[in-house]
């Protein structure tokens, strides 16, 4: 508490001459930029995304075309199969990049789904309060306690392995925590005095929600969304690994790893390259998420 007031004084002293202030958001971004791990991770993630999106166009081989001259070829620079080929002579680099693309796409769409469901559910529960809130949150508790992944698997089996269904199913799987976080934050903001101040100056409910509550939810939502992305990448690859996710001819990192681990002893590169991509992807996402959390909520960690 005391320290905070020191800090506050310090800010004032430094910034006395400036005219424009720095919002909490801007200060968080400044802190994030000072976080080396998060910055390196962002660079790696950017490289991965650019590679997944644009590199395949410059490769001599497509991800599903067999190279009849090179079955089970180990990685080599001369042959142009930098990551080697699989049992069907398909270029692993092309396949890995393609798989990364699919994994990222699933992550993006499913995160979006989970944000939409989680934020609206949590915000409604938090804003309504009382019994409605308690009932809604009890429902979330119950959902938490269900073997959700089994239902997703069932859905995938019953309705066919449809990529869009996969997006939705995984999004449905991940919205619970988002809903809890948003609800907690909404409750906290709702009870702050600036909401009462806005009501006292005659603001309508809609204006209060959109001008006063929503902007203050952005921070926690961004943080948790960033932490959700790696979860979803992992879940997708898990389902694909078990054979319930993305199917041939499409491929994802999980599918590639499943294929790779079957041939681990004879064709080790089939495992190591996709595995390295997945781990790198997860690691950079994780560091970015941590960095965002520390930037928005600078506690002593």
């Amino acid at each position: 508490m005391i320290l905070q007031s020191f800090k506050c004084n310090l800010f004032n002293d430094v910034a006395e001459g400036e005219v424009s202030g720095r919002s909490l958001w801007q200060e968080a971004m400044l802190r994030l930029r000072r976080n080396k791990a998060a910055m390196i991770a962002s660079a790696i993630l950017a490289l991965l995304i650019i590679a997944a999106l644009f590199l395949p166009a410059f490769l001599p081989y497509g991800y599903e075309d067999p190279d009849w001259n090179a079955f089970r070829a180990p990685p080599s620079i001369e042959s142009g199969h930098y990551f080697g080929t699989d049992q069907n002579g398909r270029d692993l680099l092309a396949r890995t990049l393609y798989g990364t693309r699919v994994s990222l796409l699933v992550a993006l769409v499913a995160t979006f789904v989970s944000i939409v469901i989680g934020v609206s559910y949590g915000a409604i529960a938090g804003y309504m309060g009382g019994r409605i809130d308690q009932a809604m949150m009890r429902f979330v508790d119950i959902m938490y306690a269900l073997p959700y992944i089994l239902f997703v698997i069932l859905l995938m089996v019953i309705f066919g392995r449809n990529v869009y269904l996969l997006f939705a199913a995984i999004g449905m799987l991940e919205w619970l925590t988002m809903a809890r976080i948003v609800r907690g934050q909404t409750l906290a903001i709702k009870n702050r005095e600036f909401i009462e101040a806005a009501r006292a100056s005659g603001r309508s409910s809609a204006a209060i929600i959109f001008r006063h509550i929503v902007p203050n939810l952005v921070g926690p939502v961004v943080i948790y969304a960033a932490l959700t992305v790696p979860e979803i990448v992992a879940t997708e690859s898990f389902l694909s690994y078990l054979g319930f996710g993305v199917q041939e001819p499409l491929t994802s990192l999980g599918t590639l790893i499943a294929e790779g681990s079957d041939a681990m002893e004879v064709l080790p590169w089939l495992l190591w390259f996709p595995a390295a991509f997945l781990v790198l992807l997860l690691m950079s996402l994780l560091f970015i998420g941590d960095g965002l959390r520390d930037a928005f909520d600078p506690k002593d960690r």
Binding site: A145, I149, L154, F159, L242, G254, E265, D300
Partner: protein, 307 residues
């Protein structure tokens, strides 16, 4: 305390019922059935099979029969494995899944909490950094990748441990599956524990305890541990679900004949009876674990107990 446990159990039962009902109807209403194999069956045989398994009756009646049987403890026949009923198969797979799950659960909590405490107390020391690196590995290497890596290192290269199977059921066969299953949870729990422990150690009542002249062991064990465990507790409920998810993969990779494998095979073959049976089993396990977590909560926080 007992009434509290009883109340929690009562609220869990309707959940179980709703989940079974939803599962039942989703499965039945979905296109395709257990006997839609590669080759279409002669209609007569299919009709016979349908009649045998009550599939020809109206859905509502099938549902009533099923629920009635479940209440008697009969999970019905398996559609693909004719020799065994669902209940019999589950009882065969049960020990493997339970032993694996329970061992992983206990190991995750113990090691996770311990690592978290060490990290918090020795903040920014080499042990904290080493633990952080291990935690990172646990978080970014999915279990289906961790499994082959460990198999390769400890099973094939070093030849210390068996790469799979149950063998004679000795501990050696458990080490790798439990390690793979618990590693990510050790990582998450220790991260959580470290964070909250640091927060708790900065709190006012710890300052009071220090001002009383207590040394660090009683401060951590008597004053800080219980409040710091609270967020870990709330993670344990979902963790039960995650463990189960993990066990699907682990049973598959290590060739353990547990319930996870039944589930996957049943799902792939649309063996309704088996799928429903395994789902019910899993839900009961998870609900029991959640109940235990709730009771632990009450033990940790006198305020919960007072309610």
């Amino acid at each position: 305390m007992l009434t509290y446990a009883f109340k929690r159990t009562l609220t869990a039962l309707p959940v179980l019922w709703i989940a079974i009902t939803v599962c039942f109807f989703v499965l039945r209403l979905a296109p395709g059935g257990p006997f839609d194999g590669e080759r279409p069956m002669p209609p007569g045989i299919k009709a016979n099979l349908d009649a045998h398994y009550n599939l020809d009756k109206p859905l509502i009646q099938q549902y009533a029969i099923y629920i009635g049987n479940v209440l008697k403890g009969d999970l019905g026949p398996s559609f693909t494995t004719e020799d065994f009923s669902v209940a019999e198969q589950i009882s065969i797979g049960l020990p493997y899944t339970l032993i694996l799950g329970a061992a992983a659960f206990v190991v995750s909590i113990l090691l996770g909490v311990l690592a978290g405490i060490i990290g918090a107390l020795k903040r920014n020391s080499w042990s904290d950094h080493t633990l952080a690196a291990l935690v990172l590995l646990g978080l970014v290497i999915p279990n289906f990748l961790m499994a082959p890596i460990l198999q390769l290192i400890f099973g094939i290269e070093l030849d210390w441990l068996p790469v799979g199977g149950w063998g004679d059921g000795s501990l050696r066969y458990l080490v790798l599956p439990v390690a793979v299953l618990s590693f990510p949870h050790i990582a998450r729990i220790s991260r959580l524990m470290r964070g909250t422990m640091i927060e708790v150690l900065n709190s006012n009542f710890i300052r009071t305890a220090r001002s009383k002249g207590l040394s660090s062991t009683p401060i951590v064990m008597r004053h800080a541990l219980r409040p710091a465990l609270m967020p870990v507790m709330s993670y344990l409920g979902p963790a039960a679900g995650y463990l189960l998810t993990g066990s699907l993969v682990v049973e598959q990779i290590f060739g353990l004949p547990g319930i996870g494998r039944y589930f996957i095979n049943a799902a792939l073959n649309r063996d309704y009876g088996m799928v429903l049976g395994t789902v019910i089993f899993y839900m009961i396990v998870i609900l029991i674990l959640n109940l235990i977590v709730d009771l632990l909560y009450a033990w940790l926080d006198p305020r919960v107990r007072a309610q």
